[in-house]
Symmetry: C2
Subunit: 371 residues, 2 copies
Amino acid sequence: MAPPKQINIAVLGPEGVGSHVLSQLSWISTHHPSTHFNLIYLATIDSALYSDNYKPIDIETALTQLETPGTTKPLPTLHSLATYLTNAPHRVILADNTSSDTIAQSYPLFLERGISIVTPNKKAFSGSYELWRDIFDAARCGGALIGHESSVGAGMPIISTMRDFGITGDRVNRIEGVFSGALSFLFNEFAQVTPYSTVSGGGRWSAIVKKARERGYTEPDPRDDLNGRDVARKVTILARLAGLPIELSSFPVQSLIPEELKGVGSAEEFLARLPEFDERMDEERDSAVKAGKVLRYVGSVDVVRRKVEVGLKWFEPHDPIARLEGSDNIISFHTKRYGDYPLIIRGAGAGGSVTAMGVTGDMLRILDQLG
Amino acid sequence: MAPPKQINIAVLGPEGVGSHVLSQLSWISTHHPSTHFNLIYLATIDSALYSDNYKPIDIETALTQLETPGTTKPLPTLHSLATYLTNAPHRVILADNTSSDTIAQSYPLFLERGISIVTPNKKAFSGSYELWRDIFDAARCGGALIGHESSVGAGMPIISTMRDFGITGDRVNRIEGVFSGALSFLFNEFAQVTPYSTVSGGGRWSAIVKKARERGYTEPDPRDDLNGRDVARKVTILARLAGLPIELSSFPVQSLIPEELKGVGSAEEFLARLPEFDERMDEERDSAVKAGKVLRYVGSVDVVRRKVEVGLKWFEPHDPIARLEGSDNIISFHTKRYGDYPLIIRGAGAGGSVTAMGVTGDMLRILDQLG
């Protein structure tokens, strides 16, 4: 009988995805008592919960403890944190639920010391290619592992599928998909397809953007979705996993922020002026409709031609990309082994609990390998 | 720097999927030289290649060696094989590429001795529930691992996704899909949907069955697909992974073999008489068409109501199940976390190289955990 597995966990960012990560860890502890995730460090943006003797923090009450005066400590520097974690008994997984660029830049510091990293944070993997290489080199040298399943498509098996293609010797020829829940919702509403594939309009673009923001499908500032950067980051990650050493800035990314509004200050001001450009978006949609096609915002990686693109594209009304619903993501993998019909994965690509599922799934895999 | 990982491999069945498994192992050895898969045993149905001192067999030339007079040995009993593998240096993975029921029944014998098993063979996991329990109990006691990703949906991430739902605490409410490449092809041809969702007929049922057989989409005897048993087996596996302790014989499975032809001997005789029943299939299709629906052969697991079904069902013309192409499989997972929109995975669910990818992917995961 295998001995119980044990690993230490340090969590950065207990809100949002982080809160779901904590509750999933708590569920796992209760339901798989042989799985020992010891939470030894939990930090917000300005304070941390940890003890010098690595005493496990009770996950159930961790969030309450964070708010109890006197129980937290000042935030250590990332260097001190790395030292603290390096000296822990058992291996350590650092779960980075923040979107901090500073923390992303410091991954190699942790990895080279044998501290594994799991994160939904895209920044590290879509930053400079030099950082990408440093991260994977540091992990190799330190014998640490990296899990970033939820950096693309939240909890869906996207990164693991790419890895399986790579390690078993399949050849990925092309990847295409809708990688943003916000842009999925916007275009599913704006360029609709009836059940019988009649392409048609939806409402006014500016009104849909407002609605999407109110319902929480977009970032608080919708421009953070409309600029296409989030899609570009995800596409960069997949392109690199497919073997293309590309930089984020090296391929065309179509922004849906009108040139005239680039100088606008607040999100509110931007949204107030957006209706001025509804006609322009109507034209985009209508020329597609006239050709019997459906307008969508997609990212694609042509591995063979080494060409990466992010922007508007027309699709046949019966194409699975034209037929998305809600704020679903969809990703098609065209590979040598899959031949004429790609492997297609579709579902929620955002949301706290599914994103956290990608993070905790990665933790469990690392525990299996290192615990 | 992590030491190179090493594990012994025993392969049963070097043809079909097995030949792809061997060539993928060979690819991995060449491209990931730090991954040491030592092939120490390779067996056909009546002879085996192995040496008393566990000398690795050259994978590249293994198939030639199998045909070289004097190099093979008589097939050992499964008990002797288990003893041989138990005494090997390093851990062992047994890859069962056969569809032998006898070998499936003997999995616990290997697992309790610490020998891990990977297989595309559905039989063990869809046999009696007692065998299922014995297999997982033996693995736990022996500290061995089990990989059967390709027992459902070939190389697609179906079993691993089910496992992730389970271990991270998601709740699967319903699973539905097209689980047979043969039945997918037959119905995609027989009950067609135009790009604009007009439902319509296809050719004659008996002619399509013949065509599918000629193109290799069905088993040599198409009745092995038409009886629905293969789908029932896959659905049984998913139902069990979702927590239902069901038996294969405990739920309705609609057979597409006409009652009148149940006594017929050869596949040829069956195919010769099948046209007599074309009208009956036309009626099935046409009543769906009249209602604006599309006829498909699906399996479903309603976890909440503990209800499992395999058979014909009508779908809306814009449903992803109605819009399948080729011989693709599609599986939808309705879970608590995914909410209103299921996670959907679609792609080739059969074929040597994609099935082997599921097998070698499992081997690599086991190597990561045990090597």
